[in-house]
């Protein structure tokens, strides 16, 4: 894998990565910084694995597959760093909550990322478990909790 090829593969993910970073830290600059820090951590820790992958730019299907592989790898670091950072910024986060999304930011960071991965990016429960390195049942539990807390705010009395 050449560096320029890697850049061509991951550059289109910038928007989606930013979106996830924003679900953890609702601040433009901090979310962008989180994307860069996650990429740096990913490149440093997974360098060998990243560089050994072969890439044929003509094979679009292969490119899609590789892009998804890198996306998942980046999300793993983004979630990990973002959840920690979000914990450190708990007090500041209260003032950052964008209007219309206060209930969502009232959820625990790990629940927010699981909800975003499932309902926004449409990852399967198995893929989320792989990205976050947690058991499948924990993903289901977090989805259940997130739904329950959000629905209770939106439709009081609704069952999760």
């Amino acid at each position: 894998m050449k560096r320029n090829d890697l850049f061509q593969l991951v550059a289109p993910l910038s928007e989606q990565l930013y979106r996830f970073a924003y679900t953890l830290i609702p601040d433009d600059l901090q979310a962008e910084q989180l994307v860069i820090d996650s990429l740096n951590a990913y490149l440093i820790k997974e360098q060998k694995q990243i560089i050994k992958l072969e890439f044929d730019p003509k094979n679009k299907r292969e490119a899609q597959k590789l892009r998804r592989f890198y996306f998942k790898g980046l999300l793993k670091y983004l979630s990990d760093i973002g959840i920690r950072r979000s914990g450190q910024l708990t007090d500041q986060l209260k003032d950052m909550r964008p209007p219309g999304h206060a209930e969502f930011y009232g959820l625990e960071a790990r629940v927010r990322i699981v909800m975003g991965l499932r309902y926004d990016a449409r990852f399967s429960v198995e893929e989320i478990a792989e990205i976050l390195a947690i058991p499948r049942y924990e993903v289901i539990e977090k989805l259940h909790n997130g739904r329950f807390l959000l629905l209770d705010n939106l439709l009081p009395g609704a069952t999760p």
Binding site: R19, V35, H101, R118, I140
Partner: protein, 105 residues
């Protein structure tokens, strides 16, 4: 009517796991078979789907401005070129790598 209400109740509990893709293969087959044979049950599935759509609307869909996107992609490029070591495959490849490193300094 042989079907009992408890049967419906049991499948109602499976709607959300079904929409979440969290049902096992066996449960999924059983659930889909039940929905196909009970068209009235579809309304309940649709109601749950609508609830989920409402939930999805509560997840912020942050969008980057074109300028921020370009700046972020430039930073991503710099990170990749600074942190990833590429092994040259011959003299010309070595020159290419050095040239790219020079450009991305």
């Amino acid at each position: 009517m042989i079907e009992s209400v408890p049967m419906h109740k049991a499948f109602e509990k499976k709607i959300i796991p079904y929409l979440d893709g969290a049902l096992s293969k066996e449960d999924l087959a059983e659930f889909e078979a039940f929905v196909r044979t009970h068209p009235e049950f579809n309304a309940k599935v649709k109601a749950r789907q609508e609830e989920l759509q409402l939930l999805t609307g509560k997840i912020p869909a942050a969008v980057l401005s074109p300028a921020s996107r370009e700046a972020l992609e430039n930073e991503m490029r710099t990170s990749i070129f600074n942190l990833l070591r590429e092994e040259p495959e011959g003299l010309f490849d070595g020159l290419r790598i050095r040239w790219e490193e020079f450009r991305n300094r």
